[in-house]
Symmetry: C2
């Protein structure tokens, strides 16, 4: 699958669509086809390199189930060739009425390459626990 | 304090030195003097903007105590104007013989500006828990 994303946002939309659809091919089309990519998912070690990132999502998608997320924009940091997006990810729970899990921060970094904007880094970190009522 | 860091590594060295020394002035000299900076420390919300980042470290340093860290290199991702450094941070415990806390991942992003390489993003995320012996 060869895609050309005109903007970092186009690449990001494709990334979350592929996560939701559990499409490995679509997902790996968003990642840069280079070995300096890195991915940090909750409770996982930092995964580096095209081969290991592919293996990670192959493993995640092996159940055939996607990960639908509500993504809330926090900040873009833009340079001519690198775009950094801070967002908050909220997993949409499979069953209505169940309380959603704690959201995660995600930082997505895109680089403008000959083949368009590509994801080079996806990092998750927990949000602080909710404040307890007094 | 006006500094000029010739390389991203120079800026990073100054950052961790300032953390250890609890020097707010030295620390804020490493951060870009712009409002698109972001800082995510363990258990804190994502802090954005020069003013709020200054307030965060003012609060952290208020006890007059620095944070000595052992920093282990994982990966550099380099473009002409942006440098991304993935490292592992290990707090050096104040008392010898006490087990160190779980290390953290850190991702530091530097941008080449008119005033040299400056820190624009510092993100922490937990490393996975150690594997239990079986």
């Amino acid at each position: 699958m060869s895609m050309h994303y005109e903007t970092p946002q186009d690449a990001e939309d494709a990334f979350y669509d592929a996560l939701e659809a559990a499409s490995l091919e679509a997902l790996m089309a968003v990642w840069s086809d280079t070995d300096d990519i890195g991915c940090l998912l909750p409770m996982y070690p930092l995964i580096r390199g095209r081969q290991d990132v592919t293996a990670l999502f192959t493993h995640l998608f092996a159940r055939g189930q996607g990960v639908p997320l509500t993504v809330t924009h926090l900040d873009w940091v833009l340079t001519d060739t690198v775009a950094i997006h801070h967002v908050e990810e909220q997993v949409i729970p499979p069953q209505a009425g169940r309380p959603p899990p704690q959201p995660f921060y995600a930082t997505n970094i895109y680089r403008l390459q000959d083949d368009g904007w590509r994801l080079i880094t996806h990092l998750n970190a927990p949000t602080p626990p909710p404040q307890r009522g007094g």
